[in-house]
Amino acid sequence: MASRAAPANSLTNSLSATLSRNNRSALGRWFWTIDRPLLVMVLMLIGCGALAVAAASPAAAHRYSGGTVVVGDLYYLKRQILWIIAGVPLMLAVSMLPIVWAKRLAIGGTAFCIVALMLVPILGHEANGATRWLQLPGFGFQPSEFLKPLFIVTTAWLLSARIEDPTMPTMQLSFLLLLVVAGLLVKQPDFGQTALFSAVWLAQAVLAGMGLSVIGILIVVAAGGIGVAYLFVPHVTSRIDRFITGGGDTYQIDRALDCFRAGGLFGTGPGEGRMKFKLPEPHTDYIFSVIGEEFGAIACMLLAILYLAIVIRVLLQLLDEEDPFIFLAAAGLVTQFGLQAAINMAVNLKLLPSKGMTLPFISHGGSSYLALAIGMGLLLALTRRNPFLKASPYARRWQAA
């Protein structure tokens, strides 16, 4: 009975079932178990990112040049290529980790990043009124960015323990952890990240079977939190007021809308954009507008659909996932990815008030690019599976045959 010898949840031991593939090397195993359609879509996204940064680079360079400082037109494109060269191998390396090592990486990394986050107010580097970075030689390290994927996997680990054994108080524990992280982020202050962490945690808790009444209460509390921020944090008040009334200072977002209007359906063509020169952060927060101007609304729609396709691909794969940890971790990671993309695009289209959030794999890198690569690497590692050994009816048929 070959199937008896193969524990269902272990991917590493699934080699016995893949003997027919005749390739026992680590790389071969990785190749046959990775979710190839997902990998292809992510690489497409990274490619689009290079194109988009190429379009946005001159505008950003114009913006940051002045006086004696001259930033070359393609400076940001060159940097982006470096980030891709660093990020893609990192992503692939993480995707090769066995599940148990991915889990260890996440838990250890979470502890490390929380400590780093605590150090930020003491040693941090201030920019634009917020202290978010630790300045390391060569680049700024933003612990909250790296914490995001690692925290999600840790949360999944805690919540899945509760599914295995409902007497475990791990949901409360992970909520406590969320409160610690949220407290540290609000202190920076970084309300956008706080909201993202909380939203992803809530999604994971809901998937882990949190009661509907608790969900209701948490949503009310969150709405209350936003209300309090609106009433007592002038910066938040002005952003939301500006968004609702259209009054006050709407300079940045109006420039973004002009880009889409100028681009039309097919865009002005690469390098032909003009409105992009007036954008505040053309290479990061507002890169979607640059795409809108130069490549047109159809390209933007395709990009939005590409994000949707990635999310759908992962979620559909999860439908027959039996391991609660993998289920929660992958769902959490893809929620973060999709939510961040959707929020960024919605801000660019003036459907949401402005939030400092980048478009995953499209916006010009920085340390957040490496964090994204780790997150996607973890997702790829978690969704690796033996195509012939899964609990779907098709797999059963194959084994029966």
Binding site: G263, E272, G292
Partner: protein
């Protein structure tokens, strides 16, 4: 062998970790399956929501790209219509904003006729800040449109035009120029592509752009010299205190004209996109703050005006803190004895003021606050006007009446406070603050809030705070400054912070015949050597007020006179010891 799980269990994923399998595996496995099934259901719901979100984005993209008009930058080629915009001057004809005829020099490289190398050299000779190689690169780019230079002067543009190259186009870029850079940036605001976005530029956008009115320049009530003095003094405090922000406003008490309005840190309206958005926030009209003790002036004025207080030697017992509805109201400089009205005022007694407010009662307090304009948006022409925060009527009980009496539980803008102070000292008439110059004799009639008698008494009390109270450092020799300090703990995250405060000083001068109100605010001062580490208004801003008055007094024609002063002798006789500070 029996310990091995059955095949059916393997396939359904029912094999859990040893931990869960240890107790009652069958029951737990069922529950686990149920939870996972529920999770899958919810996952599908989430997926559906995400699909809808992306659907909305796609619809919005279609809306923007198909249904809305193309923006018109670059449409005004050299022959096109010129969207001019009216100039803005201060009250003394100092230019604050004007439209400067600039040109954008662009090239359509594919249509180039001449020799690019020669052309590049010719253009470089005209535009000294560009290099031949840089221009050559633009001329030979593989695009249909490249900028060679932006914001080029008309004469340079003409010389480039005279080169006769058809591929080079001159785009008229009517640039709005703010020659004084950051000066009064929050008042003037800025315009982008001929449309006012912020400040006066937005408020009077129609007046500035309509062909029938744009020919005559607008005169603001601002006096650039006063504005400069206010900005420089507040900027010095901001730097010395390493504070988060500073703000100030100077108001003519007889006309409501705003002579200066400063919000720091500020920005350069010539390049608004390059500034930190936080600097564009107008702390004077758009920010609301709990202004603390500066409110006590108003409570005492109300009490005097309604006859709640009939004599300066009327006493309120400040021996013990007030305990009400689970809160305790206590004094910072507790004397622990009954206090007369001048004592309550110069010692800034919360207990005394709270009792006075309670006697006044909620309805009369609300009626006065309403008359003073504290329950609606500040009256000023700026589009960036905050609405005050105050409790709803149902929540405005005795506790709220008391705390509002000493400036807590009600947040208003500095414009609100300055207008109210003007009414307190000018004989009792409230006039809306205005940014437009008021010709002599054309001041609005205003609405009476306090009687002239109340106003007289309040002048003396305010002067007393500066001669003998917490505001002594605000005195400016001969200028008869009067005012009230206020140091409120800053609200952060809905709670009062012990570590951050907002210090305010509301002053007027000369107190024997008040002409100007000066209200200043420092957000989160850190204390410095100059203030011996203190962060209270009396130490932090009062000295700046003194310097501001000494700088703007001569400009505004207020003559210093050490022989003139308000008679505070009668009030002094009601003070039974010297002020605590």
């Amino acid at each position: 062998m029996t310990a091995l799980p059955l095949r059916s269990e393997i396939l359904s994923g029912a094999v859990g970790r040893p931990r869960s399998a240890a107790s009652s595996p069958i029951q737990l496995a069922g529950q686990r399956q149920q939870t996972l099934a529920l999770g899958r259901q919810r996952l599908m719901t989430g997926l559906l929501l995400f699909c809808i979100a992306i659907g909305v984005l796609v619809l919005r993209l279609a809306d923007l790209s198909l249904l809305q008009g193309r923006p018109t930058v670059g449409a005004n080629r050299s022959t096109g219509a010129i969207p001019v915009r009216g100039d803005i001057y201060d009250r003394n004809n100092v230019e604050l904003a004007r439209t400067f005829e600039a040109y954008g020099i662009a090239v359509a490289p594919r249509k180039l006729v001449g020799n690019p190398r020669v052309l590049a050299e010719q253009i470089a000779a005209i535009l000294p800040d560009k290099t031949v190689d840089g221009i050559y690169k633009e001329l030979t780019a593989r695009n249909s449109f490249r900028y060679i230079s932006r914001r080029v002067l008309p004469e340079q543009a003409k010389r480039i035009n005279d080169l006769g190259e058809p591929a080079i186009t001159l785009e008229r870029e009517p640039e709005r120029l703010y020659p004084n850079l950051n000066l009064a940036a929050h008042v003037i605001g800025y315009a982008v592509d001929g449309v006012g976005k912020v400040g006066v530029e937005k408020a009077f956008d129609h007046r500035l752009s309509d062909p029938s009115t744009r020919g005559t320049p607008m005169h603001l009530s601002i006096d650039a010299r006063v504005q400069q003095a206010l900005e420089s003094e507040m900027g010095a405090v901001l730097a010395d205190q390493r504070a988060q922000g500073a703000a100030g406003i100077v108001l003519d008490v007889q006309t409501g004209e705003v002579l200066a309005l400063a919000s720091l840190p500020d920005f350069n309206p010539n390049a608004p996109g390059k500034s930190d958005p936080a600097t564009r926030y107008n702390k004077v009209s758009y920010g609301v703050y709990e202004l603390g003790s500066t409110f006590k002036t108003l409570t005492i004025a109300m009490a005097l005006d309604t006859g709640v207080v009939t004599s300066m030697n009327q006493k309120y017992d400040a021996t013990n803190p007030i305990r009400i509805a689970g809160f305790t109201i206590h004094d910072d400089h507790a004397l622990r004895r009954p206090e007369t009205i001048p004592e309550i005022f110069i010692h800034s007694s919360n207990i005394g003021t709270a009792k006075m407010a309670a006697e006044l009662g909620r309805d009369r307090q609300r009626a006065y606050l309403d008359k003073l304009g504290f329950l609606k948006q500040a009256e000023i022409e700026l589009p960036e006007r905050a609405s005050p925060h105050f409790p709803p009527l149902s929540n405005w009980g005795e506790l709220a009446t008391m705390t509002i009496g000493f400036g807590h539980g009600l947040s208003v803008s500095l414009v609100h406070l300055a207008s109210a102070y003007a009414a307190v000292v000018n004989g009792g008439v409230l006039r809306p603050a205005t940014l437009l110059k008021v010709e002599p004799g054309h001041a609005p009639a205003g609405t009476r809030v306090f009687s002239p008698g109340t106003s007289d008494t309040m002048r003396a009390l305010l002067r007393l705070v500066v001669t003998d109270g917490t505001g002594r450092k605000a005195d400016a020799p001969g200028y008869r400054v009067g005012g009230k300090t206020g140091t409120a703990e800053k609200l952060s995250g809905g709670r009062y912070s012990k570590h951050a405060n907002v210090s305010t000083f509301a002053a007027a001068f000369p107190m024997d015949h008040p002409r100007y109100v000066v209200v200043t605010m420092i957000d989160d001062p850190q204390g410095s050597k100059a203030t011996y580490g203190f962060r209270t208004a009396g130490m932090v801003i009062a000295p700046a007020v003194s310097r501001i008055v000494q700088r703007i007094g001569p400009i505004l024609g207020v003559t210093p006179d050490v022989n003139k002063d308000v008679d505070v002798a009668a009030l002094l006789s009601e003070i039974h010891d010297k002020a605590a500070e």
